[in-house]
Subunit: 354 residues, 2 copies
């Protein structure tokens, strides 16, 4: 995805926000038995076999992994180098009609407003608090960035983490009615498990906010916080308290998007990955960096082709635009996954309750 | 340690550099049978029992770990939260008479000079190249920072990595005559293995350069690159080549020292550690951040008291100064390890060849 703190968000994107939120904002508590079971890092048999993938893409993935894990094979990769990186929005979970983190920010402005009378000094935020979405959006990119900044800073990292977790347990998606962390892709969960069962380390490398993701990625994907790379705001150590805290501050510290992704990968991981999965041109450089290293490599693009089970979009989309990636997929031998044809199911909830 | 890119290096420190390098700069190739075996991440029995520790500190560490890993115990810590962080210079390996990374930079200036005639435009660097250490040091902090910058940037991350590895295999310490990666602390290797055997994740959190450490920490400590946090220079993705590369650039991007350590920890790990080890006031905030979290915590300070086997220094030292840490050790219940009394051996090479 594009970094959502980036101020260069198009007006068409703003329109999408408007449409989305004219039908959204319905929240309901999530009962315990609806909760998603934690992803099993040791892999269960079904996921381990990439059961939700059709034969052709599954065989291509499995052939490559078999080659990478067979000693003596020309494609063999030592365990220490088995680094797999995945974008998050549009690659591991959905990103339409708006990035879920932006939905969080908008919900949070409304929820937190009573504690922050000073927020109404900003006309756009005042409009949002008062439910006037038209006026909020007329504030343009600055209004959205302001909504993100005030809900993502001015508190300790622990407080922010608890805000994200609470939102994830209550807010629901305007189209599916599901909790956002239920809108993860079953075939990608299987792929993560399959790679881990073959001694790959799996990392998220996303334009989304690192702290926003870390609040739920371990439960959803089996990926611990120290294997999550993302965009970052400021962070300040405050020791004037009995319990010293790290306080989030609003400046953009690192933009983990486009050419920032290889940089973020090296800063956090310190190795060139051998496997990369993405879905948009924001992932182009991460895929390119991965695929042009020496030795055996695998690149994968999730192509959003399914207008029934999910949303169909690519070259002309203002969220998750995929243009250059499609053009160069053959050149770099990237597997372009056709969601409609290649995935037997999209979301775990389609599989029914066990 | 103090961040070595920091320009606020005292003149006394410069004097130390001078003394050190009047006797240093002897390099010899390291033969294969001299090489240090890789640290075993699964732990061998001897290290697993903290064999090089005297009874008192060993019992205190083991009692805490037993409590942290015993379900039902009030000090129990779930596996996902067993995060242990360690400073590097002066905590896992020696740092006297000068930070080893600075020794690397000085050696590298001399080695690389023939490829860089432009370096002689800087009078201090010219003096260093021509062997005039007095004149080089008269350039003060700026001269040292310049030596670091030119040897740590202007090349791909892979090239830099190969430079560090080559230096580590040839350069030797002016006092011990050993390769620098042989001057790691045997009791700390045992502690790392012991914690890992008890399902702790071990991380390095150092003021030293992240890329400099990653070149050798996996072999020396069993700590992979993605578990190393350190100070960072700039990084730029260059895709105008057949094989796109990350190029190191000279600006200071992140200073992983003092209050920067809790920040670096959160940016990379995303959790508050439960165990921290350090040796200087540069580690104070990391130890404080760790020790003031909720639940069971362990903080450890390596106190350099051994003038025979290593170097004795603390409150007045300009390398690894330990002042506030000693004052507040009791307040935070930090274990102050007396190297002379508490460690049966300091370096692995004291144990003889097996």
């Amino acid at each position: 995805m594009k970094n959502i703190f980036d101020r260069k968000i198009t007006s068409k994107f703003l329109y999408t926000v408007l449409v989305a939120f004219s039908v959204a904002s319905c929240s309901s508590p999530k009962s315990a038995d609806e909760s998603i079971p934690a992803s099993e890092t040791d892999g269960n048999e079904q996921r381990g076999q990439l059961a939700s993938w059709q034969d052709e893409p599954r065989d291509r993935i499995m052939d490559w992994v078999t080659s990478a894990t067979t000693e003596g094979n020309s494609g063999f990769i030592p365990i220490a180098d088995r680094i797999a990186v995945f974008d998050n929005d549009g690659t591991l979970w959905s990103e339409q009609p708006i990035y879920f983190q932006l939905a969080f920010a908008i919900d949070e402005v409304k929820r937190m407003a009573p504690e922050h009378p000073e927020w109404k000094k900003n006309a756009s935020i005042k409009a949002l608090i008062e439910g006037d979405m038209d006026k909020f959006l007329s504030g343009g990119q600055n209004a959205l960035v302001e909504a993100l900044a005030i809900t993502h800073s001015g508190m300790s990292v622990e407080e922010f983490d608890s805000h994200v977790k609470a939102w994830m347990n209550t807010a629901t998606h305007p189209k599916s009615g599901k909790h956002y962390n239920e809108m993860i892709y079953q075939p990608m969960l299987e792929l993560l498990d399959y790679l881990r069962a073959n001694d790959f380390k799996t990392f998220i490398v996303s334009g989304g906010g690192i702290d926003f993701m870390r609040a739920w990625t371990e439960e959803a994907y089996g990926i611990p916080p120290y294997q999550v790379v993302g965009s970052q705001l400021g962070l300040s150590y405050v020791d004037s308290l009995a319990m010293p805290e790290l306080i989030k501050t609003p400046e953009l510290y690192f933009n983990d998007d486009k050419a920032g992704k290889p940089v973020g990968i090296y800063r956090h991981i310190g190795k060139r990955p051998v496997f990369a999965g993405g879905n948009s041109d924001g992932d182009y450089q991460m895929l390119q960096y991965t695929s042009t290293g020496e030795g055996s490599r695998f690149g994968l693009i999730v192509h959003h082709t399914d207008s029934v089970r999910e949303v169909a979009y690519d070259r002309d989309s203002h969220i998750g635009q995929l243009n250059k990636g499609l053009d160069d997929a053959a050149k770099y031998n990237w597997l372009v996954v056709d969601m409609q044809k290649d995935w037997k199911v999209v979301y775990p909830f389609e599989m029914g309750n066990p």
